[in-house]
């Protein structure tokens, strides 16, 4: 029996769909093909067939640098991942964007709790305790820079700055907080991407939802407080 994530995927697979920078398409034989969304139409892609290949594809960017934030808009290109079953698809997507499908399902079912940035900061201990000293103005700037979709992170922010409901950053466009908006489309298109635009699939999107500031953002707040 398919679990709740597989049911969500089944529904989404009525047509090709985007998940972050990945395009997911169903094949005529019931399998699935994943590729970088900017590689659509290319026929020179390296083919992989194991769910575990997703771990290595997601690990480094095109320049060979380690990707500590998997939802950063720097997924490498040039690959095609062929999978046979829905369970494999779920597993591979979880390797690409760990935890994001679970958070999406929790959000769809009304079970997702969001945590304001101030609460996340106040919870820290050890070397990160000092991050709570960040001012509202500094936090506004850090979040606006670190979390921006064009070069920072493709997640849709659902958390607020504080319990009063203050927007997490005034520096970000309102679409950054809208689960219906395709964050990957917010990037400044590269020339290769622009060339391919004419043949692009019209695809639905499963958003990469962000329910709470990540450890990387907390580390950035710490740096600002310490003046690094």
């Amino acid at each position: 029996m398919p679990n709740s994530i597989e049911r969500v995927l089944q529904a989404a697979l009525a047509a090709p769909f985007y998940f972050g920078q990945i395009l997911i398409q169903k094949t005529s034989t019931g399998g699935f093909v994943l590729s970088h969304r900017d590689d659509e139409g290319r026929n020179d892609l390296q083919t992989f067939r194991s769910t575990e290949d997703a771990i290595d594809i997601a690990k480094y960017d095109d320049a060979g640098n380690y990707r500590p934030l998997k939802t950063a808009p720097n997924l490498r290109r040039g690959w095609r991942l062929e999978l046979a079953t829905l369970a494999e698809l779920k597993c591979a997507l979880d390797y690409f964007y760990s935890g994001r499908l679970d958070v999406f399902v929790a959000w769809k079912s009304g079970q997702l709790h969001t945590t304001p940035l101030r609460q996340t900061l106040d919870r820290q201990s050890g070397m990160y305790r000092i991050a709570a000293k960040i001012s509202d103005e500094q936090a506004d700037r850090v979040v606006g820079d670190f979390c921006r979709s064009d070069g920072g992170c493709l997640r849709t922010i659902l958390w607020k700055r504080d319990t009063r409901g203050t927007v997490s950053s005034t520096k970000l466009p309102s679409e950054k907080f809208d689960p219906d908006f395709d964050q990957a489309a917010a990037r400044a298109p590269s020339s290769a991407c622009a060339e391919a635009t004419a043949d692009k699939t019209t695809a639905a999107t499963i958003p990469l939802l962000c329910q709470e500031a990540c450890n990387l953002l907390i580390a950035e707040c710490r740096k600002v407080v310490k003046g690094e």
């Binding site: 380690y66 500590p68 939802t71 760990s98 399902v105 997702l112 050890g126 450890n215």
Partner: protein, 285 residues
């Protein structure tokens, strides 16, 4: 513990700079998932994704009644006692969520008695054919860790293996406090020496720092240069070359034969220990 409504969550540190840090945890997760011991198996990291906070949403409360949380850490300390419980909202050994799901916080991997067998097996494999009775075994930990007990854990393991009387000598050594790993020539008397890092994953310590302290890092660079495979700089910078240090055993150095193993946490046998720690939770309750 039943497989139809119990899940396993493996929690680990992870890293924002070292991709090898999470690799063993991901491998153990995949292996345990393959065995179908649990209805669902996930992992979460302090420094990587999914985060410890994401883990709160990994298991469907409709189908999963119990979640066994096993820390993939070498010892108890700041992370197992402060960070993991805080981030996961654990109230003690057992936590009942508002949706009725029960979370069971198990002992860290490094505490399990099977770690001793794993160390013995790895030491034997890395120096196959070399008589253990003529060999000194060194268990390396970091030392001076902030509020971590890995140094004490390495000492405990060395004592347990020493009591078996298999090796000529068994020593716990540290990178940053005496007895220092860099003093291995003075600390050991046998011709054969086997070194096993007591870490949960490979990384800068096992790839570069300990080899430098042992004096085998330069040997590897020279070998690679003479084989025309890499310059030393290329060898250090390429991802593939980082594990190269483990593929040239034994090292001949100062009339000694030194064998150097990958970190103990990379051993596939850790998957068995993770399952055992979950099973032990109920046995000890």
């Amino acid at each position: 513990m039943t497989s139809d409504d119990s899940a396993l969550l493996i929690v680990a540190h992870g890293s924002t700079v070292n991709p090898a840090s999470s690799a063993p945890t991901l491998a153990h997760t995949t292996e345990i998932r393959r065995r179908k011991v649990f209805a669902d198996v996930g992992c979460a990291f302090w420094k990587e994704e999914p985060s410890l906070r994401d883990a709160l949403f990994l298991f469907d409360s409709q189908s999963v009644r119990e979640v066994y949380v096993v820390p993939n850490f070498i010892s108890e300390g700041y992370f197992t006692q402060t960070v993991v419980p805080r981030e996961l909202g654990l109230k003690g050994r057992t936590t009942k969520r508002s949706d009725g799901q029960i979370w069971k916080y198990c002992e860290p991997v490094g505490n399990h008695p099977l770690m001793t067998d794993l160390l013995l097996r790895r030491a034997h494999q890395i120096a196959a054919g070399i008589p253990e009775s003529e060999t000194s075994l060194l268990i390396v930990a970091h030392g001076t860790d902030l509020n971590e007990n890995s140094a004490a854990a390495a000492k405990r393991e060395a004592e347990k293996i020493r009591s078996l009387g298999k090796y000529a000598a068994v020593l716990n050594v540290y990178m940053e406090e005496p007895p220092l790993v860099s003093d291995w020539r003075k600390l050991t008397k046998t011709r054969n020496v086997v070194v096993v890092p007591f870490f949960i994953s490979d990384g800068l310590h096992s790839y570069e720092d300990i080899p430098a302290l042992l004096g085998i890092a330069n040997q590897l660079s020279a070998r690679l240069r003479s084989a025309g495979r890499h310059t030393a700089r290329q060898a250090n910078s390429s991802h593939a070359a980082r594990g190269e240090i483990f593929r040239h055993n034994p090292y001949a150095i100062d009339n000694r034969s030194l064998s150097y193993a990958p970190s103990i946490g990379t051993d596939p046998g850790v998957a068995d220990i993770i399952i055992e720690q979950a099973a032990n939770f109920d046995a000890e309750s």
